[in-house]
């Protein structure tokens, strides 16, 4: 599936965080939930740089910390230790209002469900982040995005009148239209049937290839992960492995071996 794009990738700490070629990055990321005996180390020293124009998939068993990593990188949650940046801006120095504005301008989101505001039409949902900023979308770019995603004729419909696949495509359009530094996708195809899921993934792939968009996707599904340029494997809050230019089978094998490690670790 990889279209042969150049992938610069590293998991070492040598890459400086101020590297402006990176769309987003974290270094020494630690996230601890709770206190004392009951505390959980959801992230345990993660270093990650997302190069511009790259499509990264994050995999791992439940509780491995992949959602936490995404939330902390996207400015939805704050790190206990370490630092995160998006488009050159250090997140840990920002207060809530500034973080919110950063999400508005530099981040796009695609969630598994509840992606759209029920009362707004497709068009209004797509324009929402820009409108919240008091901006208007660039008409040409808007048209380009919606026609590429094939939802031109669904723009005046509300989410209740859209199919699951159409809803996710509207969500992709919303994420693209503000030209963010990075798009975070959390199980974007988790609620879709196989055909619709494949279509949405292909469109995300196209966004990377044709528009140079940076995308991070958290997923359970090896087939989905194989669309990415590389797959990172998270286990117990650490990046334990990665595959470049993955195939579904390779991803599947790696996941199985991770599960085995875990089972053995428990016993």
């Amino acid at each position: 599936m990889p279209q042969g794009s150049v992938v610069a990738m590293t998991t070492t700490t040598e890459t400086p965080i101020s590297d402006t070629s990176a769309a987003a990055s974290v270094s020494g990321a630690v996230k601890v939930y709770g206190k004392g005996n009951t505390s959980v180390r959801a992230l345990d020293g993660v270093d990650l740089v997302l190069p511009r124009g790259g499509f990264t998939a994050v995999m791992g068993p439940s509780g491995s910390g992949k959602s936490t990593l995404m939330h902390c990188m996207a400015g939805l949650d704050t790190l206990t230790e370490g630092s995160a940046q998006i488009g050159g801006e250090r997140l840990e120095t920002l207060k809530d209002a500034a973080l919110t504005k950063l999400r508005r301008r530099k981040v796009g989101f695609i969630f598994q469900a509840f992606n759209l505001i029920q009362t707004l039409t497709g068009r209004e949902n797509i324009e929402l982040p820009l409108r919240l900023d008091g901006e208007k979308p660039d008409a040409k770019w808007f048209h380009e995005v919606v026609s590429r995603l094939g939802i031109e004729d669904r723009l005046d419909h509300t989410p209740t009148e859209l199919s699951g696949g159409q809803i996710q495509r509207v969500a992709v359009a919303r994420a693209l239209v503000s030209r963010p530094d990075v798009i975070f996708a959390d199980e974007p195809t988790g609620n879709l049937d196989t055909t619709s899921g494949a279509e949405v993934l292909a469109l995300m792939r196209a966004a990377v290839d044709e528009y140079g968009q940076t995308i991070v996707m958290v997923t359970h599904d090896p087939n989905s992960a194989s669309v990415a340029d590389r797959v990172l494997f998270l286990f117990d809050g650490r990046i334990v492995d990665s595959i470049e230019e993955p195939t579904a089978d390779a991803v599947f094998e790696r996941m199985r071996s991770l599960s085995t490690v875990r089972t053995e670790g428990v016993s």
């Binding site: 919110t100 999400r103 008091g134 919303r174 199980e187």
Partner: protein, 875 residues
Amino acid sequence: MFRVAVKGVLARKLRLILTSIAVVLGVGFVSGAFFLTDSMRQSFDNLFTQAVEGIDVQVQTKEYKEIIERQATSGTAVVSLDLARVGMPEEAVTRVRDLPGVQRASGSIFESGVLILDKDGEPIGTGGAPSFGANWIPEAADIGALRISEGDAPKQGEVLLDATTIKNGKYEVGDDVTVLFQGGRKTEEFEISGVVKFGDANNLNGAAITVFDTKQLQGLLDMGDRYTALEVQADEGVTQTTLKRTVAQTLGTEYDVITGAESAAEQSEAIDRGFLNILQNVILGFAAVAVFVGAFTIFNTFTILVGQRTREFGLLRAIGASRRQVLSIVVLEAVLTGIVASTLGLLAGYGIAGLLRGMINSFLDGGIPSDPFPLTQRTVLVSYAVGVIVTLIASLLPAWRAARLSPLEALRANPAHAGRGWKSPVAGSILLLIGGALVIWGFNPGDDASTQTVLGLIGGGFAIAIVGIALLSRLFIVPITRVLSTGLARGTTGELATRNVLRNRARSATTASALMIGLALASLVLVFQASLGATVDRQIDDILGADITVYNSTALQTGVGVVEDEAVEQMREVDGVDQVAGQRYGGAAIGDEFDPGGDVESIVAFDEGALETDGLVELEMDTGSSEPGDGILIDTDLARDEKLGVGDEIELAFSTDMTRSLEVMGVYEPNEIVGSQLITSIATFDELQPENVRAASGVFLSVDEGVKPTTVVERIRDELGRDANFLEILDTEALRNTFNDQLAPILGLVLGMLSLSLVIALFGIGNTMALNVFERTREIGLLRAVGGTRGQLRRIIRVEAVLVALFGAIVGVIVGVGAGRALIGALEDEGFVFAMDPITLLLVLLGGFLAGLLASVLPARRAARTDVLAAIATE
């Protein structure tokens, strides 16, 4: 199922409390009404029990008692009291004194209309309470209710004043004081010989009391050697009933003989049937509004809560719960909520009763004493019944909806979507028609309908119509909200708020309805006030040709207040006065028998010239002459009812036992300034009426051209000197203000009582908004994730609440003005004119705006604090 219901209630404590507030306040209003009136009843009972201390049997003439009772029930004094004729004769007192078993028999006098002037010559106010004169009974000095707390018993030329009057008049024992009798017909100087208390109280529940030497008081009240009552004390060992029998046998059927205990009970009952009953019903009426508003709020909350739990019910159904069981869970929850809320409401009632007492005291100078509020069985029962039944009724429809769904439908349900389609507007129209028909029926009830039936029809009809309007209002919520939002809800946040209002129109409309009811009533009251003002203006401008009106300001306290003929003559001489005419006012019965307890009409007479064209009172004649001459003028209503016309004779009987047939000289259109259906000449009037009404009850004056009425008012004051102190001398502007001043406190009280339903509505909006925020947690999380700031989230909720509240306020004002228009239309025959004051109505809208703003504070904060991660987490 009981356990499930209890757990359901406990799991939603906060929402339960929010829901309950509506019930708590409504029930609190109901119990508060009872607390307050029970407390007042108790203090009156104490007073009346004290009043009969040392009195085992009390005797009055039947005639006197009838007149007094009639005055108490009708509130007016069209029947004048000739005490020399109807009082208790000395001879009867002597006869009773010699009876066996009688220890003491004393003639007592207790009459209203004795006014004390302060040192500046102004009457000392009693805040609307009467001002009594009583005789000093030396033999009862140590046993009766009247006790001298300072100084000595009054001799000729001396009086005892009650402690409150002494204080208010800044008098001391030994000072001289001027006392007014019969509305100023007599004035006397007295020396204050001491201070009197009524039992332990400083005065008689707000009423003033002045005690005189018996002979002197009899002379001043023109009652010969009579009294108003005979009080008898029994020998030891003789019971009240035995003594009553003995006295009754001796005196015969002309006299009303009762025991002391019966007397106290009778007075208690009289005040119960009269003033207290009215007060209680008025407060309960407002309480009903509050409960009604509360029911809307509860209905809305239960609908939302049940909607949110549809999946839970689906699960229960899937694992084998029957429809009945699901229904019973919701109903049980409602009952539990009702019980908890009623308990809190009962407690809140104490506070609300205190609040009501404060409002009545400050608006109406009520002088309600700060006695404790007694908790009676009735208050407890009614409070729980109201709280539980209202909650139950409000929850039935949502419960039925929840139970109706099949398990799978319920599991799949999306709580945010609940369209009701065409059914609601149709049902709304039907309810509106039914309600409207009931109200119209209430206004034209037929002859044998009781007041309760009428009030029930109007109140019930209004309630049904309001529910109809609430259902219909959702038809207009889209256009009205759209118009409002172009002004108030700009930008993306405004658009989101607008969409939120419109996403569930039924919910928004019901939420708004709670506010709509209170504001509709407030608007109705304001329209009524404006119309009343306009009506008074019209009367003053169109019917009253006079520039200055004079009447006796003590009329309220004395029953009869007059302006003496001499004073009228003095006014005639004042520089700048053109015409002067007095109006006499008395009572007459149609037919050949005057029964003070029966139907008594008012009858008036004007000084010459008053009724002529361009005269002081503009009488519009239907037929005949405007001069009564030796005959009489009647109005068109009476002419129709009695089938009389010009040239016919009408037979009238008077309190002087005279009867007279008078020829109808003319028929006039009903006239509010005349205020009576019968007009005779002064000569006829004076011939037939008792001496004490043979003087002007009001005087109309016009001024010479080019002279300012205010200047003339000052001149009249100077001319009359001290006599002007108890006369109201008003130019048209001041007269207008007097009407408004009388109305303002009542309006204030009404609006004050309505404000409690507004508070309930405010909680209703807040509650719905809080539930909306809860329901939309995910959406709020999504908005935050894609870049909505906390401030923007707050703004969305705030604008949404304001839009809902303003919608309610607009519908409320429209409904209120519409109802006011209909009401004034129904009263057009009585001379009412419709008017409204746009400014006050705008203030009502502003009130709605502020209510929305206030209601949104907590929900908006909660929305802003939504945890983004928790909100967007999948499942």
